[in-house]
Amino acid sequence: MTARTTPAASPAVTGEMPRIRMSKSRRNAELGLLLFAMALITAYAATVEATMLDSVTPDFWIPAALVSLVFLGLHIVIRFLAPYADPALVPAVALINGLGVAFLRRIDLGRADAADRANFPIFAGDGGRQLAWTLLAAIMAAGLLIIVRDHRIVSRYAYTLGLVGIVLVMIPAVLPSRYSEINGAKLWILIGGFSIQPGEFAKLALVSFFAYYLVRKREVLSLASRRFLGIDFPRGRDLGPVVAVWLLSLLVLVFEKDLGTALLYFGMFVVILYVATERVSWLIIGLLLFFGGATLAYSLGASIGGPFANFYDRVQIWQDPFADPYNAGYQPVQSLLGLGTGGLFGAGPGGGQPTKVPDVEDDFIFAGLGEEIGLFGLSAFLVMYLLIVERGLRAGLAVRDSFGKLLAGGLAFTLGLQVFVIVGGVSGLIPLTGQTTPFLSAGGSSLMANWLIIAMLLRISDAAGRPVTGSASAQGDGPAGPPVKLHGAPTEVIRS
């Protein structure tokens, strides 16, 4: 024992040094990428003005600079509160968000009279509003990082969060249509000119609840099962609460006529179940249920209509959008024409006519963007989304506790599925279901909820990247959790 006291310190030091050096450079890498992203947004804004106004106004950089300030603030918060977090997440999301703000301003310019364009106020229109939402979203993300110092704390409030999630989903269904309905979909809370989409925030709460519950039950779920038709089904009582939550949210969503979100929750549920139990049978059951449900909804819509008529119409339009190009199929046809006009390289920022597509600032933002930056630019966006999802899944792989794994996996997948549902809908791959494009579409609820998801992924990736020794010393500013007591046990006795 005595001979080994000298090396006692050195293995720890050698094990620690590369970690610290690496993590410092990672924050600087984040800063560098962030500055790069902000330069890109400024370049985009300049190109838009050069194309649309034939000259660049002296104020063109102000929205981009404001966005940059917001994200630099968030970066500083991360530097202090999540130093080991993933360096690629925030810059990638910030670029998408910032280009979204710039594109919304471009749509505002397109809708304004040609004479007014040169002095269109910065804080007016969708672009200005989105700028304010971005600030609020970044503040919420920072707030989550400040409040949740360890993602495992979330698991303590899992049942509360589950309840909150259900309540959030149900509020619009219960409210009278006057306070909750826009374009036939009852998923809003409309108060004094403001509209909040509570379902967006429910995602985070429901994923937390599913993750916690399945961590508790995963052993039982993957072991105690009944074999039926070659597939292992778990016992009903183990699964009861989760299925209840899922059915309830699904019923409410069908009632609220928002099938896109219902699909999102369903996919989220199936994938978390799959990650928890590592059983492919869940994916098979999920896909069968999904296709069965879709077929049923389609035939019900064809025969009795009611809440399914909407879905039936959507499928009809999807199958042949050009059947009625001026009425029912107007939106998808304009979207496809826009994407087609854009071609490979697009008409250039500011050079297209995205305002021809109805709802281009919301559901169809990808089509409007595609007309101007083309397939080449859109694929860059898709790769960026892919990288964001990959970083989220990576955080899930690297983190050491099961709850964190399920939470990160579920959140990252939800984000990816949402992008698939809306981009697939806009490009005609799948029937269109109204969804916001994460970080891009106009709308505060979606932006804030998705930034909260990113903040949670940052928190988890920070926990994953944090060296074990770091956790003991970082306890000072972290939550005064029980580990302190354990680590304080008489273990450091070194006999020399």
Binding site: P11, L40, A43, P91, F345, G348, G377, L387, R400, T491
Partner: protein, 160 residues
């Protein structure tokens, strides 16, 4: 604005967009391929990479010092923890360093303590016991490199 400037701006933006994407990929590349590299490190014969990195004087008598804790079997298989100076707690409790959700694990099952350049495993009064290879751990026991510590269905090893 001359047409030429607009064309340059238009394509320049697209090129910059892709340069950004590749820069992001470059930043995370180390992480993307880290898994492959580290598994090669594990597979390398003992003593090959000892002098690599921070030239560590091989003063430790019995083998080299452990730098990593690797879960080799069970639900968390593949998880790695970089070892430092802090003790590692293992159990079902959420605040453990290694949280294992295993029906046979206790809330506070065992802990690994660094002592004199070696790691000592200590059972914390678990219900089903901790095993070092085949032997049940009764008191603080030094853990050699590469010998599995078994807790329920989970098996962990110290690696250099």
């Amino acid at each position: 604005m001359p047409e030429f400037v607009l064309t340059v701006a238009r394509f320049g933006f697209l090129v910059l967009l892709w340069i950004f994407v590749f820069t992001v990929v470059g930043v995370i590349r180390r992480d993307l391929f880290a898994g492959a590299k580290s598994s090669r490190l594990v597979a390398a014969p003992r003593g090959v990479g000892a002098s690599a990195g921070h030239a560590q004087p091989a003063k430790v008598k019995r083998g080299r010092a452990a730098h990593q804790l690797v879960v080799t079997a069970g639900q968390l298989a593949g998880t790695r923890i970089t070892l430092g100076e802090a003790p590692i707690t293992i159990g079902r409790a959420e605040d453990s360093t290694l949280v294992i959700t295993d029906d046979y694990a206790s809330a506070r099952h065992a802990r690994l303590l660094p002592r004199g350049g070696q790691w000592i495993i200590e059972d914390l009064g678990s219900t089903n016991g901790t095993y070092l290879d085949r032997a049940k751990v009764t008191g603080p026991t030094p853990v050699p490199l590469g010998v599995p510590i078994r807790i329920g269905r989970t098996s962990i090893e110290l690696r250099p």
